[in-house]
Symmetry: C2
Subunit: 303 residues, 2 copies
DNA sequence: ATCACTTACGGACGGCGTAAGTATT
DNA sequence: AATACTTACGCCGTCCGTAAGTGAT
């Protein structure tokens, strides 16, 4: 058994079982990858792939198991390489962060700024995705950290470090009727068209549940993955916005009125997720600490 | 990075950092192994080894880390191979058990007999060692299971499945004065020369603690790793024996009187230990079940 | 007919073994 | 002097790329 065979297996699984595409990703020609897969099957004496004629369409149960261990092996090899990198220079390397728009736009900027000042030789790579995608990326070691509120902590191979607590707030054009009451209620929210996040993002599912428990049906006229879009349409007068409190910018959003909604909805926790068996380089550990410290300070400032 | 490089690293660490001996174990010539180690260091750009001139004497901190991940990788490769073996034939393979003399001699025989009948095509390999050694063997994947009472459950990389509960009993030649009282006390035991297990074996350490708590000092005239030796010297009249109850054989030991001591000492638990990340083949899972079922039945029979 | 994978073949790289060299005990 | 590791060298295996072949859509 050789690393290249396992790499080909993994690349295959991550590219819809197209041998050609896997080969492309691996910077190899397609027959080479075919050979790896064949060798692996021969050596194990087992069918690993579901086949449709010559095309590979998926994995057998054995194949799934092997893939699992292959991923472990891949993780450990990159752990070994990371040990090497760490010794070459503790303060040099790459940090790959996968996160959602809201985190990238409103939470991470001060953290990233501090981190970059502390570790100027670390190259930061930010990737955006849905929480579900981010979890997969962490699991497949495509990113070092997945930072989001949803979907983390479900995956048994990932560790989820809680870092940041937030809730929702209401935004509306000034003088909007919903602002008449000091303390907004769920019922009051339902009387107006609502603009908020799409399902699977930024606590939308908990938001639905909260209304559901009271047998209320919010009238969501528009949903977006992205707070900026929500704000834009709130400004257009299309409806009232329910957004993460950390996405309200006191200075820039002076044209929008804000009301806290933390008495209505459950608190959400943003977590940093990474593989349990991951070797953390010194600057990676520091990044997590930065995140916790800075977001704790920002939380206080908000209160 | 290649598997052979990691294998050489592991072999080196397991052979007192002698490159020649590692090469021998790997069925390679010594320069080949030297080259692997050199390549690994070069590729990682780090000193992995402590050196004394040309001789290697140990690992640096980086080296230790790398060794750790290399072992993980090795385990996962054997997991992958096991998946293959499983599909070739579910009922064929090897089962490597590391255990202590007492378990091998008094507990395992009926379990092994049943297992062999159920899986005649599985080759059983039994290795003996001290609990400490057995734990290392499980950790290094030299055995599939370590079966013992001590030292298991301490190691973070091992899973310890409790299988069997036992306590001690007293054995003595018939008509020995210690037998006068029906219910033996710790004090009474101290009035006679005692023969029991050596430290680190078969609950000897808990036995010491129990006496210690009462500020009693047992007069141990002879200690052995092995119940048969203890019985032999008890028969010789050298003293009274304190042995595991499961090692008393009602039929064969009719010349020895037996008294239960479970009111004096804590219960001990025999466990099966294996690496947490180990892939268990079907017959390996069955072996654990056999162990639990059969020893539960034997426990009842004893009561 | 096109696309995707398999089979066939040759060149180049590299691993391992042999043998000679150097440091350690 | 003997042991243990390093360096040097050559053969052989094999890995990958090119190119032709085969089966699906």
């Amino acid at each position: 058994m050789e690393f290249r065979q396992l790499n080909s297996l993994i690349a295959l699984a991550e590219n819809g079982f197209s041998v050609s595409r896997a080969a492309q990703k691996l910077h190899l020609v397609q027959p080479a990858v075919s050979q790896h897969l064949k060798q692996l099957e021969q050596e194990l004496g087992t069918r690993l792939f579901r086949r449709n004629g010559k095309r590979l369409t998926g994995l057998t149960e054995s194949g799934e198991r092997v893939l699992h261990y292959a991923r472990n092996i891949l993780t450990d090899t990159s752990n070994i390489l990371a040990v090497g990198q760490e010794h070459v220079s503790e303060e040099k390397g790459i940090l790959r962060i996968g996160t959602t728009h809201t985190q990238a736009r409103y939470v991470l900027p001060p953290i990233v700024r501090h981190f970059s000042e502390a570790y100027p030789a670390v190259e930061l790579q930010m990737l955006e995705g849905t929480p579900r995608e981010l979890v997969d990326m962490a699991q497949e070691n495509k990113v070092d950290f997945a930072i989001c509120t949803e979907a983390l902590g479900e995956h048994p191979a990932l560790l989820a470090i809680p870092c940041n607590r937030w809730n929702r707030c209401l935004i509306a054009p000034k003088a909007h009727p919903v602002l008449a009451q000091k303390r907004v209620t769920l019922k009051a929210l339902c009387r107006h068209p609502i603009i908020t996040y799409v399902a699977g993002f930024t606590g939308r599912d908990h938001l639905n549940e909260t209304f559901g428990k009271e047998d209320l049906i919010p009238h969501v006229v528009l949903s977006a993955t992205d707070t900026d879009v929500i704000k834009t349409y709130v400004r257009e007068g299309m409806g009232i916005g329910i957004i993460a409190d950390l996405a309200y910018e006191r200075e820039k959003d002076i044209d929008l009125a804000m009301r806290d909604l933390s008495h209505l909805f459950p608190w959400e926790v943003t977590k940093i997720g990474y593989r349990k068996d991951k070797y953390l380089r010194a600057y990676q550990k520091r990044f997590i600490e930065f995140f916790q410290e800075i977001s704790a300070r920002m939380g206080q400032a908000a209160v």
